[in-house]
């Protein structure tokens, strides 16, 4: 098991390297170099940039050095100082912009996931057990439609209905009056009032897919002989389902909890933009509209790295939940 983990970690290192190179390339993509564009921007906003300042900027970004040295400078700043570069859209270091928003992002993503599971797993089990029933057909149809409707479409429609039918202006995480106030009980309650909608919408986005996965896994397991054996022992149907096939079918879904990490950053980015949340996604959007590429580079690097790491973590978790892999059994490993 330990050897397996170490092997996975060794494999992930070149992967991370490649991700960082791709992220760096993306930063360099827009025509013209970053320093020139930033100087233009400063001058456009009325700030005069002296030759000395310009030189300082050029040195800071390593523009006087070849590309590979600039890459090394960028990546070593990230590793040693957690410095992902500077976002001129927010006039703050990129790392700070992301960190400031991490709390809301995390809370919303976590609750959205919980929502997804509480809704999808029981439904998935139910329709698998009642395969070919009317409920099964209805749920299958709904999940089909659910997969075709992106969450932000749903958000627009719900916002429209909320506004026209109930006069509620949704969107944002705070009401106008609390936006600038320091934390208080009232502000917290206000936050909760605003959070339920994005949580449900983000969570709903995952429901269709999770139902389908759960249903497919359960159908696979329900055919296995151990299910009949369990019935032949005299267990009630409920116990047969819960103790036997579900136990195997649910593992991959539960171990996918680790995917929450990258999902924090990119799970519902468009929805977050539509809902105007103070989470990390919309910050990326705002930066990208100005071709503020350091933000994008940081985003892709962080999400890519988290995805790679989550893959290991979720496999380890899956292995821990499955003795066949834990004890290095012959099958399934």
């Amino acid at each position: 098991m330990l050897a397996y983990i170490i092997q996975r970690i060794i494999r992930v290192i070149p992967q991370l390297l490649l991700i960082s190179i791709l992220a760096f390339i993306i930063i360099q993509l827009p025509p013209g170099d970053i320093v020139t564009r930033q100087i233009e921007r400063l001058q456009a906003s009325g700030v005069t940039v002296s030759e000395a300042q310009a030189q300082a900027l050029i040195r800071q970004y390593g523009m006087d050095r070849p590309m590979y040295q600039r890459y090394l400078l960028w990546i070593s700043n990230i590793i040693t100082k957690f410095d992902f570069g500077y976002s001129y859209t927010f006039e703050k270091p990129v790392a700070q912009v992301i960190m400031e928003r991490m709390g809301y992002t995390f809370a919303i993503a976590l609750f959205a996931h919980i929502f997804t599971w509480t809704v999808a797993i029981p439904i998935g089990i139910y329709v698998a057990v009642k395969q070919y029933s009317i409920m099964d057909y209805i749920v299958t149809l709904v999940t089909f439609i659910g997969l075709a409707v992106p969450a932000f479409f749903l958000a627009m429609i719900i916002m429209y209905v909320a506004l026209t039918k109930f006069g509620i202006r949704t969107g944002g995480l705070f009401s106008q009056e609390y936006m600038v106030l320091p934390w208080s009980w009232g502000k917290f309650v206000d936050l909760l009032k605003h959070m339920w909608l994005p949580i449900i919408l983000l969570g709903t986005g995952g429901v269709a897919g999770t139902i389908r996965t759960m249903r497919a896994m359960m159908l696979d397991e329900l055919r296995k002989q151990y299910v009949t054996v369990a019935r032949a022992k005299g267990l009630s149907e409920f116990n047969v389902i819960v103790r036997y096939p579900t136990r195997l079918a649910i593992n991959p879904i539960l171990s996918s909890v680790m995917w929450l990490l990258p999902w924090l950053f990119s799970g519902g980015i468009i929805l977050e933009i539509v809902l105007n949340l103070q989470t990390a996604g919309p910050a990326l959007y705002a930066a990208l509209r100005n071709q503020d590429m350091y933000m994008a580079g940081a985003y892709i690097l962080i999400t890519g790295a988290l995805t790679a790491i989550s893959a290991i973590l979720s496999d380890v978790l899956l292995a821990l939940s499955d003795p066949r892999i834990r004890f290095g059994g012959v099958e399934g490993a």
């Binding site: 025509p31 479409f153 506004l163 969107g171 985003y299 892709i300 890519g304």
Partner: protein, 387 residues
């Protein structure tokens, strides 16, 4: 009895009932594609999907003709005009062919939003093949005949089945023209994916070894990257001064970045497993060249999987284009696509007052749903020997 013939027998048992009496002989002699087609025909939803998609693509191809108006024509007297009501009975209770009443625009004295009043004294019948905005079909054939609309020249009340946007352009015509971009983005993206996936997957599966290892690592990394942020970053990096056409191609290229990886994996996996198959060994023993084996034995063997894989990546591309354009970092006006049309809906107040600007939403959902159904049907039909 080999596994294949056994499976064929089993399928035969199930399918036989759908085959007319006396044609069973034909069933056993049917080729692979015939079997795929028979199996596909059992999938009702996929058949419906094929018809609907056929209609959508027909509209996209003949957008100039089927649209009642020029999508860029601004009807200054009909800003944010709600979908026109169609009547078949006039104020006196007499029946007509479908017609519309004339409308007069006024302004709400408080909000200054346009309001419209029906003038039931004038009737404008809806007709087929009516004259309207002049156009050039595919930029070549000049005409001014539209499939349907209200005839009678500039004086007549124009027909807006889905209303107009804030600057008075016909939403329906824009959806028809938008289909051209939104539906072709997927096809071109799929074509690019197809070439890349077949090439790289083929190289990977055929040569194996170090080349395979490198290609697999790269695929692994690409699939690790977050889709939407990556699309957004790449789209945002496109130079602003590029012409629309180039932006369009660049966008499809971006969308196909992810599509090819899945296909490359499918192709590689199939090649690897097929290399071990007896019929490939038999061909090799017959002295066929490796190239001939790939072209004549292996590719036909998994062509159906490739088609399934490609159909599966189409909806993602359509949604990708819609999302990026909606956010204003993909295509932008004057290009017309469903995503671009939805830019107007970014302001929720706009949606609240003029909900018909959300029409592209059901259209996108319909297209994606139909592709999903089609993909599902094809996936089932792809392996005709498994029942």
């Amino acid at each position: 009895m080999s596994k294949k013939t056994l499976q064929k027998k089993q399928l035969g048992r199930k399918t036989r009932r759908q085959i007319p009496e006396g044609q069973e002989e034909e069933f056993y002699r049917a080729g692979q594609w015939q079997l795929v087609w028979w199996k596909f025909r059992r999938h009702k939803l996929a058949q419906i999907a094929m018809v609907v998609l056929g209609i959508l693509y027909f509209i996209a191809i003949f957008a100039e003709f089927v649209s009642p108006h020029d999508p860029l024509h601004r009807f200054k007297d009909y800003l944010s005009f709600p979908p026109t009501a169609i009547h078949i009975r006039d104020a006196e209770g007499r029946f007509h062919t479908p017609f519309v009443y004339g409308m007069k625009m006024g302004r709400d004295p408080n909000t200054f939003r346009p309001i419209y009043e029906e003038n039931s004294s004038i009737i404008y019948p809806i007709g087929l093949f009516v004259r309207g905005d002049p156009y050039k079909l595919w930029g070549l054939i000049p005409s001014d005949v539209h499939l349907f609309g209200v005839g009678g020249g500039d004086e007549a009340m124009p027909l807006f089945l889905m209303g107009t946007d804030t600057i008075g352009r016909d939403v329906l015509s824009r959806i028809f023209y938008g289909a051209r971009i939104s539906l072709s983005v997927g096809l071109i993206g799929v074509a690019i994916s197809f070439v890349l996936g077949l090439l790289l997957g083929g190289i990977s599966g055929f040569f194996g070894g170090v080349v395979d290892e490198i290609i697999q690592r790269v695929i692994e990394v690409i699939t690790t990257l977050p889709t939407i942020p990556l699309f957004m970053a790449l789209a945002a990096a496109l130079p602003r001064e590029w012409p629309q056409l180039r932006i369009y191609f660049a966008t499809t290229l971006i969308l196909s970045i992810l599509g090819w990886t899945g296909l490359a994996r499918t192709v590689r996996g199939r090649l690897l497993s097929m290399r071990e198959e007896d019929f490939v060994l038999a061909a090799r023993l017959d002295g066929e060249s490796e190239a001939a084996i790939i072209a004549r034995y292996m590719i036909p063997g998994f062509l159906s999987y490739i088609i399934v894989s490609l159909t599966g990546s189409l909806p993602g591309m359509i949604l990708g284009e819609t999302s990026l354009s909606f956010l204003g970092i993909g295509l932008n006006p004057p290009t017309i696509s469903w995503g671009v049309m939805l830019q107007d809906a970014q302001d929720i107040m706009n949606v609240a007052h003029y909900p018909w600007i959300l029409w592209p939403v059901p259209v996108v959902v319909l297209a994606v749903l139909m592709f999903n159904f089609l993909g599902d049907g094809l996936r089932d039909a792809a392996d005709p020997y498994v029942s």
